[in-house]
Symmetry: C2
């Protein structure tokens, strides 16, 4: 059960808008949630610098491997660093992604961290995001 506070709710809403934009494959709306100088590191360690790079990279992948993908998840934690700076963690599941050969791949799970700030006005923007797949450990070696 989520604890909702006046502080947390607009941040949770901002992260949910990211998922809505992803699921609509509207990468302009997606990128608009980030600041102009935002940093984004994806699950394989690709690092995009600035909103324009973030948009271009996601436009490319949403034409291919992510074109039918759907993202869902829960904002599992929100912490205030300052009254106008926060760190939020999203636990997510992605379905419908495609392999390079065009086959559906099984659902993936991960954790994404966001640094958000209010920079003039009341709106939050994402200043940095980093995404990591949850990888189950391999079975211990057999005897």
């Amino acid at each position: 059960m989520e604890t909702m506070t006046t502080f947390e709710e607009p941040i949770r809403a901002h992260v949910r808008r990211m998922m809505v934009a992803w699921n609509a494959h509207d990468m302009h709306a997606f990128a608009a949630l980030f600041s102009a100088d935002a940093e984004f590191v994806n699950v394989v360690g690709m690092w995009w610098r600035g909103r324009a790079q973030i948009e271009a990279a996601h436009v490319a992948t949403h034409r291919t491997m992510f074109k039918d993908s759907q993202l869902s998840g829960e904002v599992a934690a929100v912490k205030a660093v300052r009254p106008d700076v926060a760190v939020a963690h999203l636990r997510w599941t992605m379905t419908g992604a495609l392999s390079p050969a065009g086959a559906r791949i099984p659902p993936r799970h991960g954790v994404m961290v966001f640094v958000l700030a209010k920079d003039g006005g009341e709106a939050w923007t994402i200043r940095a995001a980093q995404n990591t797949d949850i990888v189950e450990p391999p079975a211990p070696p057999g005897r």
Copy 2:
């Protein structure tokens, strides 16, 4: 070549201390660089909450897979979110890690993001960190 500023240098130094503590396998010194309520997501999506969990998890891995590991890298970016809040990115290389079977594994590369804050006094502490392996894309399917 790094651009050094009065703002950036103490932050770069703090991240370098993290690598020094790692390489000495001193996980108490490592954890002391984090705030009491810090969040840490590792490369396989394990999420530790608070300094005590961060220390305990790293004590365990530095007895096993990371006991001979060495971390090096460059603080590739530092950005001020506020005068007393920053986001820093480390590009790192790890050598000497062991597989579950005890064999040396090849060097790994990754990107680690840090959210740092000054909370009373002049010292920076890490409020959140997340780590992601750099994974080379698979070769395109052959014909």
